[in-house]
């Protein structure tokens, strides 16, 4: 695929702050209409990467394109929406007045930005608070308004830093639904989050950054991986020995369930044959899946903190 076919395309991107290498040669591709999760510990280079993609920082070397345009170019910036982490919206504004200002800076005509602002405030549950100054907003309301400003100009790519931060569970669900609707409309969404469960729920692809390098990238199932462990429950008395020809069986910690670790990923048939051969009856067989959190923590453990 060329850079044009990818919405975001990053090649060997480096960013040095003096002796500090915030990014040490990152390459990434993000496909259109997908949700891409960027994970990593604090200081891993996530924010630096996002700021380069938004054209706020100039890379030391390497290239980055958004929709085939070099990042930082006016056209690239026109196509992106951004919700920064810990954003501080100017408190003297009301929701509509803030969206009006940002819409103007984005180049939207007055009528268009008014219409779009009303639509988004309604969609995000902020309608009817037109006269309330932002200093009177709750954290969740500020987060929704932050999301509204990112969506204001109908960008093709959204960069969201902790989009559901401070939002209650109902609100989070609303935001997730909204993002999925945007994805369905063809919008590519780049999410930077520490809520791994949420990333797993939302994202099609994830990349884990570590010390300025991409440690892992792929679809969520690819990253999480198909583990060759199963939970097994027997109808009769449990087996006496733990070492089987097809794998190893150990108590799982849950009553009457055993964790089976197969020697090969396709060894489940051999295990079933072996169980039948031993005259054991199964009442439970369930494949265990890894979670993003496990993978993330494994990566974090290997080599300690990345900052």
């Amino acid at each position: 695929m060329t850079a044009l076919e990818h919405v975001v395309s990053v090649r060997l991107l480096q960013k040095h702050y003096g002796p500090l290498r915030a990014l040490g040669g990152v390459s990434l591709d993000v496909e259109r209409a997908t949700v891409f999760g960027l994970l990593g510990q604090n200081g891993a280079g996530k924010t630096t990467l996002i700021k380069i993609l938004l054209g706020m920082l100039a890379p030391t070397s390497g290239s980055a394109h958004v929709l085939g345009r070099p990042v930082g170019s006016c056209e690239a910036r026109r196509e992106v929406g951004y919700l920064p982490e810990d954003h501080r919206l100017p408190e003297y504004h009301t929701g509509p007045s803030l969206l009006d200002v940002y819409g103007g800076l984005q180049g939207l005509a007055r009528r268009e930005r008014r219409q779009r602002a009303a639509e988004l405030l309604d969609l995000l549950g902020l309608a009817g608070r037109d006269r309330l100054r932002i200093r009177g907003y709750s954290k969740g309301m500020k987060q929704r308004l932050g999301l509204a400003q990112a969506l204001l100009h109908r960008p093709s790519v959204l960069f969201l830093d902790e989009p559901t931060d401070g939002v209650d569970p109902v609100g989070r669900k609303q935001i997730r639904d909204l993002l999925l609707t945007e994805r369905a409309r063809g919008v590519t969404i780049f999410i930077n989050s520490h809520l791994l469960g949420e990333v797993e729920q939302l994202c099609d692809h994830v990349a884990i950054l570590k010390k300025g390098h991409v440690a892992l990238v792929g679809t969520v199932p690819e990253v999480v991986g198909d583990k060759s462990t199963w939970l097994v429950g027997f109808a009769g008395p449990p087996p006496s020995d733990h070492r089987w020809q097809s794998g190893r069986l150990i108590p799982s910690g849950t009553a009457d369930l055993w964790r089976l670790t197969l020697d090969s990923a396709d060894g489940i048939d051999r295990f079933l044959d072996e169980a039948r051969g031993r005259g054991l009856l199964l009442r439970h067989l369930e494949r265990e899946r890894g979670t993003l959190e496990e993978i993330y923590l494994q990566l974090a453990d290997a080599g300690g903190p990345s900052s």
């Binding site: 920082l57 290239s63 056209e75 026109r78 992106v80 951004y82 954003h87 800076l105």
Partner: protein, 474 residues
């Protein structure tokens, strides 16, 4: 990253357009401006200041005879082209025509008319020519010169009839019957009482002060003096927060992501803030003009000059504030640095004024100090204390301190020049004379230098702020 030229060309058409960006920043800055409570508090203070000013009463004293006498005495010298702010009485002495004139009889027309600045008078003028030195005057000469004093024209002669007898003429004694109307400058030179809160607080001496001087002081208090200073100070405080609030972490990202050049964020915010303050200053000047006009019926437009002076000065203060805001990202630092800079300008300006005054004192040493009509009105003989006690010590302008002050002043924006130019114009308009006027008229002060230096410093601070902001990583 180096991108092909065509991408740069496309960029220009993709930007939101400076007008739309400016409108957005203007709207943002307006809300920030409106949000500042201190602004409304001090606008209220200025309204109170005006209410107090409008409670004033300005009433003319009687004085027709005195002003007729003054005009008669002034006939002794040809005062054409004399400016007492620059020329001293010594210069007038050189123009004496060898005669002495006085009013012998004077009565208002009609007899019942009040003695005020609008009254017409019938008078008898007597002129004695010093033998050999002087010569007889014609009625036309008297008609054209009567009432002309260096500060303006007190009277205009409507009718003149010579009543000199042949014998009297032979010994150099001429008489005329005159009917004189108030001249264009009589009213502003006429002594008036000035009281506040109706009649309860009298601010003038018992003999009153020339109306022009009162208007001058009033306009200075309301506009380029106290009122303007309060407004500028509040504006500095309010606008100091604009840039630091805009470029603080968490807010600046929301702006940097928009497709407009970074320098526009700073430059447009600067212009927006300046425009609001310009509107307030415009209102202040207009209100001052209206207030003094309503009180005194003097609608002289000189005070309008205070507007460019104050606007330029605020442009400079705002550029310092924006520059400090960009560098430090702190509203408090921006405010303190700006006020400190202002204080430095003020002190250096004041000391520079002392240097100029000292130089003028030396140049005019031994000559009588300039006299204004206000001085002439005082019943006591004017003090010559400063001349008498002037010990033969080193004049200030030749001291090391003065040289240092002059060196600093030379590189600072000459905002003092702007203020002085406004005062000079107001003093001319309102015939305010005396030593202060002499200082104000000094050629050391010019509009060109005041504007040029102030604008150059303003541009330097603003460009530096834009460049630093554009190049710095957020």
């Amino acid at each position: 990253m180096n991108e092909p030229t065509d991408s740069r060309m496309r960029e220009s058409s993709c930007r939101p357009g400076p007008l739309r960006s400016f409108a957005a920043i203007l709207s943002d800055a307006w809300l920030a401006f409106r949000d500042a409570r201190i602004l409304w508090l001090l606008l209220a203070a200025i309204v109170v200041l005006f209410a107090v000013a409008l409670s004033a009463r300005v009433e003319p004293h009687t004085g027709g005879r005195r002003y007729l006498d003054l005009a008669a005495r002034a006939l002794s010298a040809d005062m054409t082209g004399i400016d007492l702010s620059k020329d001293s009485l010594a210069d007038v002495a050189g123009r004496l025509d060898g005669s002495l004139s006085m009013i012998t009889v004077a009565a208002p027309v009609p007899d019942t008319a009040a003695d005020g600045p609008g009254t017409t008078w019938n008078a008898t003028l007597s002129r004695n020519v010093v033998p050999v030195v002087g010569s007889l005057a014609t009625a036309d000469e008297i008609a054209s010169r009567f009432g002309r004093i260096p500060d303006g024209r007190l009277w205009t002669v409507r009718e003149i009839r010579e009543t000199t007898t042949g014998l009297a003429a032979a010994v150099g004694n001429q008489t005329w019957e005159l009917t004189v109307d108030p001249g264009p400058d009589l009213r502003i030179l006429w002594p008036h009482r000035f009281t506040l809160f109706g009649d309860s607080l009298e601010l003038t001496r018992p003999e009153g002060a020339p109306l022009g001087l009162e208007v001058f002081i009033l306009q200075k208090l309301l506009s380029n003096g106290i009122g303007g200073t309060i407004l500028l100070l509040v504006s500095v405080v309010v606008t100091a927060a604009f840039v630091p609030t805009m470029i603080r972490k968490g807010t600046v990202e929301l702006l940097l992501v928009r497709p407009l050049p970074r320098w526009q964020l700073i430059a447009f915010t600067y212009v927006a803030a300046w425009l609001f303050v310009a509107a307030l200053l415009g209102l202040l000047i207009l209100a001052t003009w209206l207030a003094t006009g309503l009180l005194t019926a003097i609608w002289s437009p000189g005070i309008i000059l205070a507007l460019p002076s104050l606007l330029l000065f605020f442009a400079l203060m705002l550029s310092v504030s924006v520059f400090t805001g960009v560098v430090t990202r702190s509203a408090v630092a921006a405010m303190l640095v700006t006020v400190a800079y202002w204080a430095v300008l003020f002190v250096v300006g004041l000391m520079h004024m002392q240097v100029v005054a000292s130089r003028i004192r030396e140049e005019t040493a031994g000559r009588p100090r300039p006299v204004s009509v206000a001085d002439a009105l005082r019943p006591r003989p004017q003090s010559t204390r400063s001349e008498q006690t002037a010990a033969p010590r080193t004049p200030f302008h030749t001291t090391t301190v003065a040289h240092v002050v002059e060196a600093i002043y030379a590189v600072l924006p000459h905002s003092e020049d702007l203020d002085t130019m406004v005062d000079r114009q107001l003093m001319r308009d309102f015939a305010v004379g005396g030593r202060l006027r002499q200082l104000m008229e000094s050629p050391d002060f010019t509009w060109a230098r005041g504007m040029g230096f102030t604008l150059a410093h303003t541009a330097a601070f603003l460009v530096a702020a834009c460049v630093i902001f554009s190049r710095r990583d957020p």
